[in-house]
């Protein structure tokens, strides 16, 4: 081959290669030098600066990163890769990305729901348990339980509701009856539901509370009709699609905003009772609706609704007088709750993901509600607010005692709920049987999480005698939930 031609080709090759290297170097530092500088400064201050941390910063700030993500998605598509490297995501039919939840222990959530159900039944407050729809069904014959052990909590949830006389609403069943399919319910690129699906769920929840508990929503006709909303749609690349791009999902989603055409007047109040903001639905519930922002497919519209990372807040609808509702939910139902706030006087929102060992549920339950709704998603495996205890000491070294003595037992509150005289007792189980030997807390007593309390039994408490020796084990008992806990 002629040397000149080869030389020209070599020059082109070198130019291309060096252009790529230097273009990325120069453009990245030119466009993002402030972000890079700040990140490195913080790492230095935190003592975490290393070549790997600098690499992470550059990866995050690299010029053209979004385009490169599309290239990586296209590459994975060409290679036929459906499962992400870390096993967290799976691309199903038509580019829909599913989340692999893995295996979780739902026992705590189920226990806590059982307690809540029992507690609310004492107060005659209806509890509605909503089973959110799972998006983890994979085609191609792969195990349904690739999503983890969802069935471990779906069935018991229904059981709790049935046994305790609570209301139960299954998203999947409902969507099937109204003819919604997978593409109507889920985004391709985000794990949350479409706004259309959440709005439909809001209407169904209202109808459920009305038809089964007689709760009247005076403006139901207005707020439940889509005609009364301006529907705006924006292109949307959701959280599941951010590392694979739109090509991998065969396109982006459309995120719908339903903006009320009717008058609204809302107030947002935090857990201390302080007013955070007041104004229209768009201003308060939709967080200003990005009125002055430039948006694109990377705009994360989901966070337009309610308060992400806030564990406890209340939305007050100043134009409605009836129905104060407590809602326990993660972001899976945030738009449902948002539209529900249009039909109620107040909606108090608890997000268990951010409880951080504070008894927000206990705080919320100091108030009365017309209904409590729990949108039980798999993300609540850390519990909604539960009881746990550890016996720290007893005044006798052995488990057997002489009935003529008194015994004190110190028990530590290792759960996340505050113990009060309302339904919390320590029981002395004799040979593991509950003969009703129990001590409650004096009125006004609060044993906070992490605190210990000394319970004192008198001789007269042990009126059931077999012989002079007993085998005693101390446990805590929640009479509202009919749950024993601790040891």
């Amino acid at each position: 081959m002629k040397n000149n031609i080869k030389k020209i080709i070599n020059i082109i090759a070198v130019t291309l290669f060096l252009s790529v290297l230097f273009a990325f170097l120069i453009l990245t530092f030119q466009q993002k030098h402030a972000e890079i500088e700040n990140s490195i400064k913080s790492q230095k201050e935190a003592g975490t600066l290393s070549v790997n941390s600098v690499d992470s910063v550059l990866k995050e700030q690299l010029y053209g990163k979004d385009t490169m993500i599309e290239v990586s998605g296209a590459t994975k598509l060409l290679l036929g890769k459906r499962l992400s490297d870390d096993g967290q995501y799976f691309r199903g039919k038509h580019g829909m990305i599913h989340l692999n939840y893995g295996w979780r222990d739902y026992n705590r959530m189920l226990n806590d729901l059982n307690y809540l159900s029992g507690y609310l039944s004492h107060k005659n407050t209806p509890l509605l348990i909503c089973q959110v729809a799972e998006r983890a069904q994979y085609p191609n014959g792969f195990s349904y339980l690739f999503s983890g052990n969802s069935l471990d909590y779906i069935l018991p949830l229904k059981q709790i509701a049935e046994e305790n006389g609570d209301l139960y609403f299954d998203y999947s069943d409902y969507f099937a009856t109204i003819g919604f399919d997978e593409n109507d319910i889920f985004f391709k690129t985000d794990l949350h539901y479409t706004t259309e699906a959440e709005f439909a769920a809001f209407v169904a929840v209202m109808e459920k509370l009305y038809s089964e508990k007689g709760m009247v929503f005076k403006n139901a006709d207005c707020v439940s009709s889509i005609e009364n909303y301006a529907v705006e749609k924006n292109i949307f690349l959701g959280n599941l699609g951010r590392t694979t791009g739109s090509l991998y999902s065969f396109g982006v989603d459309k995120f719908a905003h339903f903006v009320p055409k009717f008058n609204t007047n809302m107030t947002l109040i935090n857990s201390n009772g302080a007013v955070l903001k007041s104004g229209t639905f768009e201003q308060v519930v939709m967080n200003g609706y990005r009125a002055n922002e430039e948006t694109d497919q990377y705009t994360y519209w989901v966070t337009d609704f309610l308060q992400f990372t806030n564990p406890y807040y209340t939305i007050v609808n100043n134009l409605v007088e009836e129905n104060d509702i407590l809602v326990i939910s993660d972001s899976m139902a945030f738009r449902t709750i948002s539209y529900l706030s249009l039909a109620c006087h107040s909606v108090t929102v608890l997000d268990p993901r951010y409880f951080s060992n504070t008894d927000y549920l206990g705080m919320a339950l100091e108030n009365d509600y017309d209904a409590v709704i729990c949108f039980a998603s798999g993300n609540m495996n850390q519990g909604i607010g539960g009881y746990a205890a550890t016996t720290e000491s007893t005044s006798y070294a052995t488990d057997t005692i002489d009935a003529s003595k008194t015994v004190s037992v110190v028990i530590k509150n290792t759960g996340t709920r505050v113990w009060t005289e309302q339904g919390i007792y320590v029981c002395a189980l004799i040979y593991d049987n509950d003969y009703g030997i129990r001590i409650g807390l004096p009125e006004g007593t609060r044993v906070n999480p992490g605190e210990s309390y000394k319970f004192v039994f008198q001789e007269s408490d042990f009126s059931v005698l077999f012989d002079s020796n007993y085998e005693i084990r101390y446990v805590m008992y929640d009479s509202y939930g009919n749950i024993y806990f601790g040891n």
């Binding site: 081959m1 070599n10 020059i11 070198v14 790529v20 070549v51 550059l58 490169m68 990586s72 870390d86």
Partner: protein
């Protein structure tokens, strides 16, 4: 710092290239040395002194041997032994101390405290390079290098510092002093580098996911199919990981005017374990051949079987302070000895070449299971699954899923393990139009592979380099 990282590709490399070619030619070696030390220091700030100590020690040994050129052989031998010992002590302390102590404790019931010594990256490579310099000077294969910067550059040169290839001083000494950076060499370096990067990021990292899935599975759930899939996946992972890195090292060397020897020659087409070791990690196997096997007598003096046994024992030990590496080395040694036995007895089995290849692949793949598993018992349990003695709860559905999931990459990987480039080159030399087409396509393919590799790097946290651990 690894070559397949954004910080290397878009910060270190362009800055080093720019500085190297803009600087006055007489300062290029110094600049390259400083950048090489920086390259090591940013990744291993506390261990750069170890590397510098190795450089100083080997330089000093070389000088001593030069000064005693006319002395008795015994004196020179003593200096050599001292030099090798210094290198060996550094390597032993950082790599084998805790392993040795824990085995002594296990054997004798003693309670000597372990030191939990962190392993400096690349220590096996740069100590062997240092030893190679001292040995070559002793054997008068090369003259001593009086310029300490040149010795330093030889040992610390960043393209091959942390994962080879192990470069002999005699192969590179002239290039250090008077190499010529040419356009065609630079271009071939680019191609080599980008192809190596693609092998690492696109192929090796993908196979790593498959291998990790299989090797991390509960053995009761690991059926025959999945076990083989994982073993083949790891075989391809380690090949593309290491050969990809070697390609990048060779490519980078060429960009700075150096020509390193090849380290891999399509080992997965080998038709015998003997043949395999002429194709796999050539720089290491030739190092052991020249500095252990031949001095022991090779196939001319002493017991050739014992000599080969020792070489493979040391090969296993070199890879890591763990019994599974030793067993892996001896596993290969066993078959190498078997082949030698047959060869020496002139026993020709008349086996078709396909069967020879299958036998080789079986030995190699089983060997990789020994190599990959964290413990011997884990390797044994994995091998049991491969041969149908495990996986009672195995799920065929799951195996089919992973096979289909990785089918395209497996086809690409197996194809790339063949000498495809060689075949294409041979084809192109027969037709000038094909040759032109090849030359035109190369830059485009190279840039495309670079972009695709970078795009995958951005979205993955999983970017291991297996041979960094050695």
């Amino acid at each position: 710092m690894v070559f397949s990282s954004v910080v290397f590709l878009f910060l270190f490399l362009p800055v080093t290239l720019a500085g190297y070619y803009l600087i006055n030619e007489k300062y290029r070696n110094v600049f390259l040395l400083l950048m090489s030390i920086l390259f090591y220091a940013v990744g291993e700030p506390s261990f750069v002194l170890i590397m510098l100590l190795s450089i100083i020690a080997n330089y000093g040994i070389g000088l001593l041997m030069w000064k005693t050129l006319d002395a008795q052989k015994a004196v020179r031998r003593l200096i050599l032994v001292f030099g090798v010992a210094v290198n060996f002590i550094i390597l032993f302390y950082y790599k084998y101390y805790d392993f040795t102590v824990s085995n002594i404790n296990g054997l004798f019931g003693s309670n000597i405290a372990l030191r939990n010594i962190a392993l400096p990256i690349g220590i096996s490579f740069f100590t062997f390079q240092g030893m190679s310099y001292a040995l070559d000077v002793y054997m008068e294969k090369t003259s001593v290098q009086k310029n300490p910067l040149n010795v330093a550059l030889y040992i610390a040169l960043f393209p091959q510092l942390v994962a080879g290839p192990i470069v002999r001083y005699s192969d590179i000494n002239e290039q250090i002093d008077c190499r010529k950076e040419t356009l065609s060499l630079f271009t071939s370096g680019i191609y080599r580098f980008t192809f190596g990067l693609a092998k690492k990021v696109i192929l090796s990292n993908t196979f790593a996911v498959l291998a990790d899935t299989a090797f991390n599975m509960e053995r009761a759930s690991l059926g025959v199919g999945m076990a083989w899939l994982g073993a083949i996946g790891y075989s391809l992972q380690i090949y593309f990981d290491f050969s990809g890195y070697s390609d990048m090292a060779i490519g980078l060397g060429r960009m700075f005017g150096f020509s390193f020897n090849e380290n891999f020659k399509h080992p997965y087409i080998a038709t015998g374990v003997t043949d395999f070791w002429k194709r796999w990690h050539i720089s290491l196997s030739t190092w052991f051949r020249d500095y252990i096997y031949i001095p022991l007598g090779g196939n001319r003096k002493g017991n050739v079987y014992l000599n080969i046994f020792i070489v493979f024992l040391v090969t296993g030990i070199w890879h890591g302070a763990s019994w599974n590496f030793v067993i892996w080395g001896l596993w290969h040694g066993l078959f190498r000895l078997l082949e030698l036995f047959l060869q020496r007895r002139n026993i020709k089995l008349g086996v078709p070449i396909l069967i020879k290849w299958l036998y080789t692949m079986l030995v190699v793949i089983v060997g990789w299971v020994l190599f990959r598993a964290p413990t011997i018992s884990s390797a044994v349990s994995y091998l049991k699954c491969m041969f149908g003695m495990g996986g009672v709860n195995a799920n065929v559905e799951s195996t089919l899923f992973y096979l289909l999931e990785n089918l395209i990459i497996l086809i690409i990987g197996c194809t790339c393990a063949l000498p495809v480039v060689k075949w294409i080159k041979r084809l192109c030399t027969k037709d000038s139009r094909l040759e032109l087409a090849k030359e035109v396509c190369l830059p485009i393919v190279s840039v495309v592979l670079l972009i695709v590799s970078v795009s995958l790097l951005l979205v993955t946290e999983n970017n291991p380099f297996i041979y960094f651990n050695f």
